[in-house]
Symmetry: C2
Subunit: 413 residues, 2 copies
């Protein structure tokens, strides 16, 4: 009885080698940059007690945490971001972690999003955070990393939007807004997408008075960075961040509940893809989790959006389709030992080499190498064995050349 | 109100930077070796339909799959191994994947194990598999990768135990065993741990007759590799696998249900840690999943056990505690701009550099560098600014040296 082919769950993806090549390029570039800036690796579990995760992201977000009861009747949930689990680590291991602690973390997170919006339910987050310092230099360093990463990824046009919860609170206070603060800020956060008119319409539906809305936009137009945020901005120049690449924007809110100071996100003019980084300062989270008073600031890079973005914008360098340099062909029983010896020697010399396991026709083997993008094929037939030689076919030019077996490694390097 | 500090779930672990350094060393060594052997990267989702996962691993194992109902009322489960999800990929995308397909996959899997046995519930599996060929050369290549990885990891003494389901079936047939096959094989699989006496006791408890048990051990003692397995073994020498590093062992069974031919696992004499690799041929799995008839062979490397093992055996090379080469000290407001310029220049030259964000006493900053294992500290005070100089403290020797700012990069490279 033939079973029907299983499907991948909606919102989840299988990454075949060609896509993995692009993802690994971005991931390795991020790791390299993070380490150049002095960040250290950290990883946390996929599953946590629900009590650790819930109540940190806002009521709406809590519903999007994948959560269930395990065999031991524990309420558990899947990682929703990397910030809360690391805050847990800081709370648990505070005696053995020297501060300031600069960590990077690259792990997937899961969100039970509505897939009709074209959102993924499993995404790879790449976070950097600095724990244990209230210095604005820490915030500025985070922004410098964002700038460096996006430069290295060849983005021509991006803007890091910078704001602060302090600025937003001052605006709300100036407008005498004391109720429905979160709801109003949620609407304001859409300013970049739907403009003043769109936000106004939303606020009217939310029963906010016209006077309040008018006041809100008045104060937004005259808003200035607070003293702390200005001090962050003042250090960007020496850190190599050009004025073209950031902008103070008092309409930026960021969704998560735990931010306390500066907040920032990066947008690109094209494609319309939402923010590709998001972060800010969250000085109370670790204390909320029962840990010592530990200020913190950081950002996440959304690898999936970045990959979508650089693919669409054609920013990818010329990545080889495969790292395999050569396919050693299978000429059949008579010469297989010589062929296997060759592939072993190549590998011992760190030349990435594949061996074709079946004695298929050479034409089929060439076609296979071609479909994988392997640039060379080595053939050892009876004549080559006799003379300790090997025939190398260049798959790009089609040219064939017979050389001594002892010269193959040198030929390929 | 101070909350109690959240805990990490039993069987799960937070990996702080020092441990991550070891894990990344092993992971990168595996990736490098896999690519040298011509394997391509692949990743699959964390969550799959339960129907994809269940019934592939055996009845006992099915209970250990983390499974739950999602918001859309789908029965879903967390990845339990990397073989079944990739078999799903081969079934789904068979039109666009050229065969033979050699893929590596490095992702965590989850098992709701009894933690009292000291087992982890989240482990990192590192798999290589070759799909689409029945050639014994493919099996031999998998064994060659195992051998190369363990050599590179400096294992002095390891044995790849080799057997075949064909051999086991022949033994069962010779003993006229037609019932309780799986149960008998499960006991036999413990031979390495509990010996002939232990297995005999278990089989007696399972009501297997003494005559059958005697026959079983008689045939095990005279068992030889079947023709296919012999052909695999015959190719190991040219692939550089020494006879000291593998052994035919007719008592090896491997737990998973899907194996059809050769099976293999690697044991180390010390420490007593169970097998560190496990794999075999599974020619029917993709067809079982509704895909085309696609033979397959592969192995998994258990990164967690390997890390535990090489740590206990002291096989680790001298890994630096941190990749950060230098900490640029914070001498206060007056010179912070010069210090930030220096750290930016170092980073632009790919020197991994950290900046100390607070103007703490230099002694505290030195201590911080020391605790992280950062080998150098750069100090720019007012005197250094005046002369475009920088003082470099070598944290290993304690020596201080004042040099021109333009020479720092060269000094550190």
């Amino acid at each position: 009885m033939k079973q029907s082919v299983p499907q991948t769950l909606k919102g989840f993806r299988d990454f075949l080698p060609e896509v993995m090549t692009v993802r690994n390029y971005v991931k390795n570039l991020l790791i390299e940059t993070f380490e150049t800036f002095g960040f250290e690796p950290l990883e946390t579990p996929t599953l946590e007690y629900s009590s650790t995760l819930m109540g940190k992201y806002g009521d709406e977000a809590d519903k999007l945490v994948y959560s269930f009861t395990d065999n031991g009747d524990r309420q558990i949930g899947m990682r929703y971001d990397l910030t809360v689990p690391t805050a847990k680590v800081l709370a648990m291991y505070n005696q053995q972690i020297p501060l300031p602690f600069k960590r990077y973390q690259i792990q997937p997170v899961w969100r039970a999003e509505n897939t009709q919006k074209g959102r993924y339910r499993e995404v790879l987050q790449c976070d950097i955070d600095i724990f244990g310092t209230s210095s604005p230099t820490a915030d500025a360093e985070i922004l410098a990393v964002i700038n460096t990463v996006l430069q290295k990824l060849n983005f021509k046009s991006f803007t890091i939007l910078i704001n602060s919860r302090t600025v937003l609170n001052n605006i709300l206070e100036a407008c005498d807004i004391t109720e429905n603060k979160n709801s109003i800020l949620q609407s304001l956060d859409k300013f970049g997408k739907i403009g003043e008119d769109g936000v106004t319409k939303e606020l009217i539906i939310k029963n906010i008075s016209k006077a309040t809305i008018t006041a809100l936009f008045k104060y937004i137009k005259i808003a200035q960075p607070d003293e702390y945020l200005q001090s962050v901005i003042d250090q960007l120049k020496v850190l190599g961040v050009s004025e073209n690449n950031y902008k103070f924007d008092p309409t930026v809110v960021r969704g998560l509940d735990y931010y306390t100071g500066p907040i920032f996100e990066t947008i690109v003019t094209e494609p319309k893809i939402g923010s590709i980084t998001g972060g800010g300062r969250y000085d109370n989270l670790i204390k909320t989790l029962g840990g010592p008073d530990t200020p913190a600031v950081g950002t996440t890079f959304g690898l999936d959006r970045i990959v979508d973005c650089i693919t669409e914008l054609n920013l990818l360098p010329n990545l080889p389709k495969t790292k395999t340099k050569i396919l050693v062909a299978n000429f059949g029983e008579e010469t297989i030992s010589e062929s296997l010896k060759l592939v072993t020697e190549l590998r011992n010399n760190n030349v990435a080499s594949s061996f074709y396991p079946d004695a298929d026709k050479l034409g089929k083997q060439f076609k296979y190498a071609d479909s994988l993008g392997i640039p060379f094929v080595a053939i050892i037939g009876p004549d080559e064995v006799k003379n300790n030689q090997v025939t190398i076919k260049n798959m790009t030019t089609g040219e064939q050349k017979t050389i001594n077996q002892s010269e193959v490694v040198k030929f390929l390097l």
